[in-house]
Structure formats: C-alpha cells, structure tokens
C-alpha cells in the first residue's frame, strides 16, 4: 500500500503520458456533458420555475425523481439505443467519447433542471410583482432571473460537473473503458484496482479528489463573492 502510494505520487509528479490522457478525456467528456446539460436543463428549469400550467406538480415530481437516476440505468438505456441492433445503432457511436458525453448529459441534465428550477423560482417569488408592475415580457423576466441568479446557477453547474466526473456506471457501459479511446478516470480506477495495479488507480484517485476539492473550493469562492456583492 505504501509502495503503491509512492508510485502513484511519482506518476502524478512525472506527468505520465497515459495518466494525462485519461485525465484529459475525463475532463473533456464531463465538461462537455455539463455544458450540454446546462443548455438543456436551464431553460427547462426556468420554464417550470415561472410557468403555471396543468400538470406542473407532476413535472416537479418527475424532475426531482430524475435527479436520482442511477448512472448504470442511464448507461443501460443509452446502450440499448446505441448498440448495433438499437434504433440509433447506425450512428456507430457505441464505445466512443460521444456516447459517454450523451450518457452523462442525460444523467446530469435533470440535476441542472431541478436545481435551477428551485433557484429561479425562489428569486421569482421575490421579483414577480415588481416585474409585472414593470410589464416585462416573459423573455425579459427569464433573462433577468438567470442573470440575477448567476452565482447560484454557477454552483448548480458545478454540482452537475462534480456528479458527472465522479460517476462510473454510465461511462463504463457506453464507453467500454477502451485504452487510449474511452478510458476515463473512474473506469480506469475500477479496472486497475480489479487487476491489482494499485499505483495508477491511486494516482487517478488522488487527482479525482483534487478535482472534487477544486470544485468545492470554487463553489465556496463563488458563494463568498456573491455574499460580498449582496447577491443573496
């Protein structure tokens, strides 16, 4: 164990090429998925936050339930679509980074939608009467809410990214953990550990921990600067 840890630290410090490739792909997949999830989840969250339509409470329940989607289930569903015999099999996306991005987007878009719905609705409760007095259009209202909630929404995005980069169930099913192609941090850790190759697993584990720390540090910094600017 001590020996493995020493090797792991050596790997990280030496800037090992394999390690860098795995970390790079992880970040690329999870950041892209986060961006896409925000593009999908934010407008949905905003619409549900300010909209009043029949079946709204059912939508709320659904959104909150989807937040807890198990990654393996998402992986399985995407796999069924993308596998050669599936409806989207002709795209040939299975076991590619694109498939991993799709799976992670599906995994975290509900999180972004549900959390931003909460954030925007709280703000809307406060602003709604003033906005109606000013006769703002729905577009103007949504834009103003998103802008004024930007600090909270950033932390929503970071929460989505944190979930994506740490999950293993979805990417391992649709990505297949193929060396130099779809191997990301979490799948590599699972594989290396099962092979007894603890050094690389530990090195990746440390990097994941650092990423988690950085994400949480960023959330904290954003909160503090929001408080400083009386944004809460």
């Amino acid at each position: 164990m001590g020996e493995a840890l020493g090797l792991a630290i050596g790997l990280v410090l030496s800037g090992d090429a394999d390690l860098a490739e795995i970390v790079g792909l992880s970040l690329r997949v999870s950041l892209t998925a986060t961006g896409l999830a925000c593009l999908i989840g934010l407008p949905i969250g905003a619409l549900v936050a300010i909209g009043r339509f029949p079946g709204r409470s059912a939508v709320l329940v659904l959104m909150n339930a989807l937040m807890g989607l198990p990654p393996v289930v998402v992986g399985l569903l995407v796999y069924l679509q993308l596998s050669r015999s599936g409806p989207l099999g002709f795209l040939g996306l299975l076991y590619t980074p694109t498939a991993m991005i799709v799976a992670q987007t599906i995994l975290i878009a509900p999180i972004v939608a549900a959390l931003s719905r909460q954030v925007l609705e709280d703000l809307h409760v406060e602003y709604a009467e003033q906005f109606r007095s000013l006769c703002l259009t729905t577009t103007q209202t949504v834009q103003a809410l998103i802008w004024d909630a930007r600090y909270s929404l950033l932390t929503v995005g970071l929460a989505g990214f944190g979930r994506a980069v740490a999950e293993v169930g979805a990417v391992i099913i649709v990505g297949g953990n193929i060396d130099h192609l779809t191997r990301v941090m979490t799948t590599a850790i699972a594989l290396e550990t099962s092979k007894g190759e603890l050094a690389l697993a530990l090195a990746l584990g440390m990097i994941l921990l650092v990423i988690a720390l950085v994400v949480n540090g960023a959330v904290q910094t954003i909160r503090m600067s929001a408080v400083r600017q009386a944004h809460v």
Binding site: E126, Y127, E129, Q130, R132, S133, L134, C135, L136, Q140, A144, W147, D148, Q229, A230, H231
Partner: protein, 251 residues
C-alpha cells in the same frame, strides 16, 4: 436636484397614450381571501391632476387597493375604470413604488439601466435620474447594500424612469430620516408639477398635510371618507378618521 436633461424627456413622454387615464372611477370594489373580506364594496372617483392620499390604520386594505388600481391583482368583484381602460390595460402607463422596494441584485446604475432598456427608454437618462434622487455618488454600489432611504429613492427613480402618467406610492417614506423624507417629497412634487397624477399611501400626518389635495380614508376595507385635504385635516367627518387623526386606535 432638478435637471433639465431629466425634465424635458419626461414632459415629452406624457403626450402618448391613446386617451387619458383620468378620471378614475372605482365601483363596488370587493376583495376576499376565503372568508375574509379585506376590501368591501369600495367606491370613489379621482379627478385628473394633483395628489390623493390614501390613509387608514394598519390592515385597512391600502396596499391591496393600490395593487388592484395598478392591475396587479384581480378583485373578487367590482370595477376599476381608468378613463375607459381596465386596471390591467393601465399598468404600463403607471408605476408603483412598493411598500418594500424590490431591487435587482445589481449595481444602482444597472437597476435603472434595466428598466430603461426593458421599456425602450433613452438609456442616456440614467445619470440624470440618479442625480435627481441624489444617488449619483452611489452608481457603482450593489443596490442591495443601499440603506433603507437610499433604496426607496432608487425605487422612486426606477418608477420615474418609466415616465408614468400615474405614480402610485405605498408608504414611500416609512422609516426614513427627515432629510430623506423631504428629498422624496420634493421629487414627487416635481413629478406632480409635470402632470403626473400622484396616489400615495401614508401614515405620516405631516406628509399628508404637506402633499395631499385630497384624502381617501379607508377603514376596515371600506371608504370611511373622501374629502379635500383642506376640509379633512381640520374637520374630518367620519368617526374613524377623527379617531385616527387624534391618535386613538381604530383597528
């Protein structure tokens, strides 16, 4: 505090609007929440020009009446007629300064910019408006860090930015110091002099005497009295208004 750059566009902006919003006719306005009747068959008329003070004890229904007049709520029954327009249709031609100002989480300047942009007004007026309410030195500051009085003045500047034909004010000077009260009264008086119809809720008797042409006195959701200010303050007709002015509790 007055400023030519501010006043000229304001005056020009009064011209549009198909037909005037005044006179206002309110007929049998009733508002109920479940079993509680908060406004009970309220009827009164307001003529064009000047300043009407709406007075009455806490919970009399003054704030809700303003929101109904502004078209933010629908009454349970009754009618509001702004010179032939419904309250809802009149909303864009009015501004309401709420009892508790709701300011955006942005700088002082950005709060004004936002309204000027949303309502397609001349963005260059922002500095004149802030100058007008004495906030020119605070433009960069986050609006939510303003003091109570400064926040009220910013809310008033934002209301004026929309060039309202009717300015509805809900206790615009509650909890302000005497200098701030005077500053706000001066700004309102200037708007009034430019032809803006003022409808203001206040508990401040001195302010009511200084500003009112006319008083509508609400008591328990009903109009207890409507009178010219010169008649009302020396000689209120209703027992409720008499007790209120004497500082006796009438809730």
């Amino acid at each position: 505090m007055s400023d030519a750059a501010l006043i000229t566009p304001l005056r020009a902006a009064h011209a549009p609007g198909p037909t005037p919003l005044l006179p206002l006719a309110v007929r049998d306005l009733t508002l109920r929440f479940g079993d509680t009747t908060v406004l009970d068959s309220v009827s009164f008329d307001l003529s064009p020009g000047g300043c009407t003070m709406i007075m009455g004890p806490n919970g009399a229904g003054k704030s809700l009446l303003l929101k109904l007049l502004h078209g933010l709520m629908a009454p349970t029954s009754g009618r509001i007629d702004w010179g032939g327009h419904s309250a809802h249709a009149a909303t864009p031609r009015q501004a309401l300064v709420f009892q508790k100002p709701v300011l955006l989480r942005r700088s002082v300047a950005a709060n004004i910019d936002f309204v000027l942009k949303a309502r397609r007004k001349d963005r260059a007026r922002r500095d004149a408006l802030l100058e007008h309410v004495g906030l020119a030195h605070k433009t960069r500051q986050p609006a939510r860090l303003l003091s109570g009085g400064e926040a009220q003045r910013l809310a008033l500047a934002r209301a004026l930015a929309t060039d309202p034909e009717v300015l509805l004010l809900d206790e615009p000077t509650a909890s302000l110091d005497p200098a701030s009260i005077l500053a706000i009264e001066t700004i309102v008086a200037e708007a009034r002099a430019r032809g803006t119809r003022i409808i203001c809720v206040t508990h401040d008797l001195g302010q009511a005497r200084r500003m009112a042409d006319e008083v509508v006195f609400l008591h328990r959701g009903r109009v207890a009295e409507q009178a010219r200010a010169v008649d009302f303050f020396p000689q209120p007709r209703s027992a409720a208004a008499r007790n209120y002015l004497d500082g006796r509790i009438v809730v």
